[in-house]
């Protein structure tokens, strides 16, 4: 009995009227954990009940603590009939299970109902007493910290980065049980929410066990996803990077990061040898089966392309790569890997890292993007009799279920193992031993599922090994002589024995090592990388119609289309990159979405100009019929347009690299022609490929051949991408290269559009145009909406495409807009000290503009609270009467300390709602994260049977997303936090049936709850500490000046 969970129900407010006669409610609360339920007294006739309950105590295993959510149900007491449920709150108590995170959860939680949405709030206090458990066979992994952040969290130091951890659990989807036909939508939704919460908990616990076995204490870059497979079930899977983290104290802060090698890392850098086994000792059948059931399932592996970025050359449609692909796709995945000793190898040895940013010196070289896809058919594995049993007992305890279907997760495990194996071999072909910025995703339509994985092949620092190899040491010595910032661009593969033809030059920074002409990666721009000018968001968009088909035929059709799509996406990316005058892509994410009658491809990345890489050549257009005069004229017109665009872009993004005379760089490596080659690795790379030389002799130029109307369309579409309005920049990476002076003003948002394709007789061209317009218009709308934030950058722009129905395209975008200081941003060479001084004085100036009275108001209880924005609001806030200011400020959480309490600013005097920032980035500009409080991972379902009354589909979804944000903020605030970083909306599944006036939406979000302190406040605090802590914030101005 290793833990005691204590819950207290304090009060409710803003409850809905449940009794029409009295316009009041007789509310009481059920508190449930596992199989134990407690009830509060009924608080009669009030919409703001004060229960002030005793402490409800649950004595539970820590295994349950990890798996189970705390379930709080608010009900309306009814003497004569069944009590009506008002709504529920699920609280994930995981953050209370590790020592460094939150110690109490306390605050107002929105009471949520899947049919009515938020219905009032409830104030709850939750605590956990954990007893030490010395049982080494324990099933729980309490104490392992989880982070969504894909870099080493700010207040930690990585002692060891162990490597890849993954796990998945499978269950039947309650929505597809027979009982769903007779139970209410509410019951069905709640069963689903609870099940997913339970599965998430179990998954996290199991991953935690693996981490403990690897002797780690944390998972960074934790990404958990749901696959709603419909009839065949529900898969919850997660990947992450196991690490040993040390909390940074002021003394430890100066130790170099990531330099403590582990003995276990001899064989393969950074990853434990397989003998160690990351498998859990848990007796779940998930882990026991060994034989592969792969052959039982229909499976098509798609020939995979490596985006090495070897881009120069022809992109003609009849070029070699195309033919090569045609041949490749006839081979099945198994054939390709035939003879591989690793075929059924259950080794967990995947040297993968879900991180996208690394400690300095960790990343040595980057090879390029590796990706793998495979098309699977979801098989119906359910035994009807079994489903019946499940329905009757209504038990969702996962182990019970798994014992019936032990082969199921094994199948999914094998699917992923296969893909990962492929990724690993691709990385090897690029001379890399590791994959960084690794991620996995699925797209499901009916019974077809596309599994995708991608990452960046990389060589990591051998210093992480205790006994570095000779090669490693040599490399290291060489690297040390180089100026920093170009090493990662140097090719990791052997230039004399390259896996593919490439155009190499000597590095433009150090001139000693070879670099490719273009570099594609899935990671963030390394902090030491030197770039010219600013970066920009680059998207490739593509649709392909496909015939409706069933089962195997459908899967085959899809897998036949995939290589073409990959190829075209790559070409588009390359063209657009050149058009921007840039030479590298970071944060590349390619999403292929499958629908009933079409496939959509959307690639997003951030283009930059790396100083280490050569200047990209222009784009040259070549016509097929050179004798036609008017045609020639047209071509030259197009050519001029393209040249103009490139020139304009160079100006816009301030790309003016220093001119370097050719002789200094040296002649390029002998390479007869520049070609665009898309290649898969392995056996195929040695094949003879027929290539057409379409380069028209112009060196460095990227030739686009216009041989038909399709190609013409492509060129046109290149030119239709409108740059953002002046003052706006956008990127899909954490930060924008070339902008470094962020202000504290941030706005995270989610925008969703669903478009109906009007024409049934669609062609690929019209479809492409529609899709392109949809994305461009969405971006334009965002720029317009956020125009008040100019100068501003949209960071971490994350597009997701789904095809909910035949003619519907859904695009979901989440990003954060950050304002930057225009004047300071230009001066990139300023030292940090100068900058911080400037910032301090600027802040103080602003502070001093406000009446002293305001500061003295807040003086007594919270000396450092008046943050800039609150003072601003206070000064303009004549609308709140003076009398209101006297009302005492109620804290949302007893945890928050004085200077974190933004809510304590005088302006919001009678508001108890604290500001909680949300951002997809791992940091808050102008602020320091002082504590990580735990992972937020929430899943919600909302359904309506009165769609019109709720404002149609837009009204319904708008309200739901606003509610999801509110629930995330409430949980963060209850943990004592004031922000959630690395926030991501992983899923937004929207289904509508307007004829029935119905709609349903599922949303899954996650992030890290943190406490942050403004840097300006930190400076003031540290400056004032020797004096007296009761000085008003305004006095900081004197200190700085």
């Amino acid at each position: 009995m290793p833990g005691k969970l204590k819950v207290k129900i304090v009060a409710g407010r803003h409850l809905p009227v449940m009794d029409r006669a009295s316009d009041l409610t007789d509310a009481f609360v059920e508190v449930k954990f596992g199989n134990t339920t407690f009830k509060t007294d009924v608080y009669h006739k009030s919409l703001n009940p004060q229960w002030n309950s005793e402490w409800f105590k649950f004595e539970v295993d820590d295994e349950d603590l990890q798996d189970e959510p705390l379930q709080i149900t608010v009900l309306d007491h009814d003497t004569y009939s069944a009590n009506d449920a008002i709504g529920k709150v699920y609280i994930d108590i995981d953050p209370l299970l590790y020592s460094e995170a939150a110690t109490v959860i306390s605050g107002w939680f929105p009471i949520y109902d899947t049919i009515h949405g938020i219905r009032g709030e409830i104030n709850v206090v939750v605590k956990v007493d954990l007893f030490n458990d010395l049982n080494r066979f324990r099933q729980s992994s309490c104490g392992v910290k989880f982070f969504c952040t894909t870099s080493i969290p700010k207040c930690y130091r990585a002692v060891i980065i162990h490597g890849f951890v993954e796990e998945l659990v499978v269950n039947e989807d309650p929505e597809y049980q027979w009982i769903d036909r007779i139970r209410t939508p509410r019951a069905s939704n709640e069963a689903r929410q609870r099940l997913i919460s339970l599965m998430s908990g179990e998954l996290q616990r199991k991953i935690g066990l693996k981490v403990l076995e690897m002797r780690g204490n944390a998972v960074v870059g934790y990404l958990q996803c749901f696959d709603l497979e419909g009839e065949s079930g529900l898969v919850v899977r997660a990947i992450g990077t196991a690490c040993t983290l040390d909390k940074l104290s002021s003394t430890a802060a100066f130790l170099p990061a990531c330099n403590s090698p582990s003995k276990e890392m001899k064989e393969s850098p950074l990853v434990h040898p397989p003998s160690h086994g990351c498998r859990s000792t848990h007796n779940s059948p998930i882990h026991t089966a060994t034989g592969s059931r792969l052959t039982q399932n229909f499976s098509v592996s798609v020939p995979t392309l490596i985006y090495t970025g070897m881009g120069s050359g022809s992109a003609g449609k009849e070029g070699g790569p195309f033919k090569a692909l045609l041949r490749q796709q006839t081979q099945s995945a198994l054939e390709q890997r035939g003879g591989s000793p690793h075929r059924f190898c259950r080794s967990r040895e995947f040297p993968f890292f879900t991180l996208t940013a690394f400690p300095p010196g960790f990343l040595v070289h980057v090879g390029g993007v590796v990706s793998a896809r495979s098309v699977k058919l979801l098989d119906r594995i359910h035994n009807p009799a079994f489903v019946g049993i499940m329905g009757n007992t209504r038990s969702y305890k996962l182990l019970d279920w798994n014992s019936f279907n032990s082969d199921e997760p094994e199948t999914r495990d094998a699917w992923w193992a296969e893909i990962r194996q492929e990724i690993k071999s691709h990385a090897k072909a690029l001379g890399c031993h590791a994959v960084v910025g690794y991620s996995e995703s699925t797209s499901i339509c009916e019974e077809v599922c596309i599994l995708s994985a991608s990452g960046t092949a990389a060589v990591l620092n051998p210093r992480f090994l205790q006994d570095g190899t000779v090669e490693g040491c040599l490399e290291q010595r060489q690297e040390e002589n180089l100026p920093p910032g170009c090493g990662f661009c140097h090719i990791p593969y052997d230039e004399l024995n390259m896996p593919f033809p490439a155009h190499l030059t000597y590095c433009y920074s150090c001139r000693k090592q070879k670099v490719p002409d273009v570099l594609f990666t899935t990671i963030d721009l390394p902090t030491d990388a030197t770039v010219v000018g600013k970066g920009c968001l680059i998207q490739a968009r593509l649709c392909r119609l496909k015939k409706k088909a069933q089962a195997e035929a459908n899967a085959t059709a899809i897998s036949n289309l995939l290589p073409f799509m990959e190829y075209e996406v790559h070409t588009q990316l390359m063209n657009k990159l050149k058009l921007k005058g840039m030479n590298a892509l970071f944060g590349l994410r390619i999403q292929i979405t499958v629908g009933e009658n079409m496939l959509m491809g959307l690639a997003s990345a951030t283009g930059v100009y790396l100083t280490a890489l050569p200047t990209p050549g222009g784009i040259q257009i070549a016509g097929k019929t050179p004798n036609d005069g008017s045609y020639e004229q047209h071509i030259s017109h197009m050519q001029k347009k393209i040249n103009d665009t490139i020139a304009k872009n160079k100006e816009l993004y301030e790309i003016n690299p220093p001119e370097i005379p050719e002789e200094i760089i040296g002649s390029p490596i002998p390479e007869p022609r520049q070609r665009s080659r898309l290649l898969r690795s392995q056996s195929e790379s040695s094949d003879e490929v027929i290539e057409l030389d379409l380069s028209h002799g112009k060196k460095d130029a990227f030739v686009l051949e216009i041989d038909d109307t399709d190609a013409m369309e492509d060129v046109h579409s290149l030119l239709t991408d409108v740059p953002p309005p002046s003052g706006f920049y956008s990127c899909n990476t954490e930060i924008m290269p070339g902008i470094n002076n962020w202000t504290s003003e941030i706005q995270m948002f989610t925008s969703v559009r669903v478009s109906r394709l009007s024409n049934i007789n669609l062609t690929n061209q019209t479809l492409n145009k529609n899709f392109n317009d949809l994305c461009e218009n969405l971006l334009k709308s965002l720029y317009f909406k956020l125009r008040s934030m100019i100068p501003c950058c949209l960071c971490h722009v994350n597009f997701t495409v789904s095809l909910p129905e035949d003619e519907l395209i859904q695009i979901t975008v989440t990003a954060v807009a950050i304002t930057f200081d225009k004047h300071q941003a230009v001066q990139t060479t300023k030292t940090h000290v100068e900058k911080s001084l400037q910032r301090a004085s600027a802040d103080n100036e602003e502070l001093l503009q406000f009446p002293l009275e305001l500061c003295t108001d807040s003086l007594a209880s919270h000396p450092f609270s008046p943050a800039k924005e609150h003072l601003e609001s206070a000064s303009s806030n004549s609308g709140i009467p003076a009398a209101q200011r006297a009302v005492s400020v109620e804290k949302a959480s007893p945890l928050t300390e004085g200077h974190f309490r933004q809510r304590s600013a005088p302006a919001c005097a009678n508001s108890t709602v604290g500001v909680v920032k949300m951002t997809p980035l791992s940091f808050i500009p102008g602020a320091k994260i002082t504590k990580y409080l735990g992972i937020i991972n929430m899943f919600f379902i909302r359904e309506t049977t009165s769609l019109r009354e709720e404002g149609g589909v837009s009204g319904f979804l708008h309200a739901f997303i606003a509610e999801v944000f509110a629930m995330v903020r409430a949980h963060v605030a209850a943990l004592g936090g004031n922000a959630v970083v690395s926030y991501i909306m992983k899923q937004c599944v929207f289904m509508e049936n307007p004829n029935k006036n119905q709609a349903q939406c599922l949303i899954n979000v996650s992030g890290d709850a943190v406490i942050f302190v403004r840097e300006s406040e930190l400076e003031i605090i540290s400056a004032q500490q020797p004096i007296a802590s009761c000085q008003p914030a305004c006095s900081g101005g004197e200190i700085a000046t």
């Binding site: 706005q747 009007s758 601003e872 806030n877 009467p881 508001s911």
Partner: protein, 328 residues
């Protein structure tokens, strides 16, 4: 290709002041888009009409969702769904409760009932305020009225506390509630020239001096109704007009004091009593002030008049009201 669903949700709720005004003014989405286009926003921002349409729809949806909360402003401050900075919350509330001069002059003093609500059509036509906006303003009056009607304490204070309005707006609402409760007919033709400001000024003085709250700050309805005792007592003052001797004496006292000081002395002598004659004779404001001062002051010199305190309570307020109302 049409957008079936098109939404934008910010962690901080975006409020566009211009669009909010259009929404409050009761324009439909398409009218609002038209007005925005005419404001030249497309040229300034390089946006397309489609973008503007989407943006306007989005803001309207947000306002629609916020409206429920705006009906009880403290709820807006406590709710968790929309994260809005306090200054913006204040702006939303203040603008929502603001009303049009033209509209309020039509409704002021009328019973805030369903009957009046039916007349909103006509009022809308007459004032040029959209029907939607008329309804919002009318409902605001009614809502505020209902909440504070039976409450103890200062009327303006109660309104401020329950609706979180600015001091100025709360006092205006106090006037609206006061007039509605006492059904002062302000729509008469003679009073047409008066602005809402004039009437609000008078209402405030009357609330300060003529309600039960002026005497005792703990009674119910202290600011809403006129003090019945006081009204009863006022009958005593009739003696000043009814009693011929007293009237003559009063008149001579005033006349003596003011002789030579007034540019319109002969007219004053003749008229003595009301504001309208003065207006029609175009008395300068200063003369009216002098006259009224003297008029109230000289009563103190009237022997045999015992209601000096009552007279002051009556006349101090009346004098200020008359002066305020004395304009073109």
């Amino acid at each position: 290709m049409t957008n079936e669903l098109d939404i934008f949700v910010g962690n901080t709720t975006l409020i566009d002041e211009d669009v909010y005004r259009l929404w409050l003014d009761g324009y439909s989405v398409s009218d609002a888009v038209g007005l925005r286009v005419r404001s030249g926003i497309l040229e300034q921002t390089g946006a397309t009409a489609g973008v503007l349409q989407s943006d306007t729809m989005d803001h309207y949806r947000t306002f629609h969702m916020l409206e429920r909360l705006l009906h009880t402003p403290p709820k807006l401050l406590h709710q968790l769904v929309f994260q809005i900075p306090p200054s913006r919350q204040a702006l939303l509330i203040e603008r929502y409760y603001a009303f049009d001069e033209a509209f309020v002059r039509e409704v002021l003093g009328k019973k805030l009932s369903k009957g009046t609500k039916k007349d909103l059509d006509d009022i809308s036509t007459k004032t040029g305020v959209t029907l939607k906006s008329c309804r919002r303003q009318f409902d605001n009056f009614k809502r505020v009225f209902k909440v504070v009607e039976e409450m103890r304490g200062s009327l303006a204070g109660n309104i401020q506390q329950h609706f979180l309005l600015s001091d100025r707006l709360a006092r205006d609402y106090a006037a609206v509630v006061f007039f509605a409760n006492n059904r002062f007919e302000t729509g008469k033709k003679k009073l047409q020239y008066l602005t809402f400001g004039d009437l609000a000024f008078c209402a405030e003085l009357m609330i300060q001096n003529w309600t039960p709250g002026a005497v005792d700050s703990q009674v119910d309805d202290m600011d809403v109704d006129l003090d019945k005792e006081f009204l009863q007592d006022l009958k005593e003052l009739k003696v000043l007009v009814a009693d011929k001797d007293l009237l003559d004496l009063h008149k001579s006292l005033v006349c003596t004091a003011l002789r030579g000081k007034l540019s319109v002395f002969p007219e004053m002598e003749a008229n003595f009593k009301f504001i309208e004659p003065c207006r029609s004779d175009r008395w300068p404001l200063n003369d009216v002030r002098l006259f009224l001062n003297q008029y109230s002051a000289s009563v103190h010199s009237l022997d045999g008049f015992r209601h000096q305190a009552l007279w002051d309570r009556y006349m101090v307020t009346l004098r200020s009201c008359l002066l305020r109302m004395y304009h073109d």
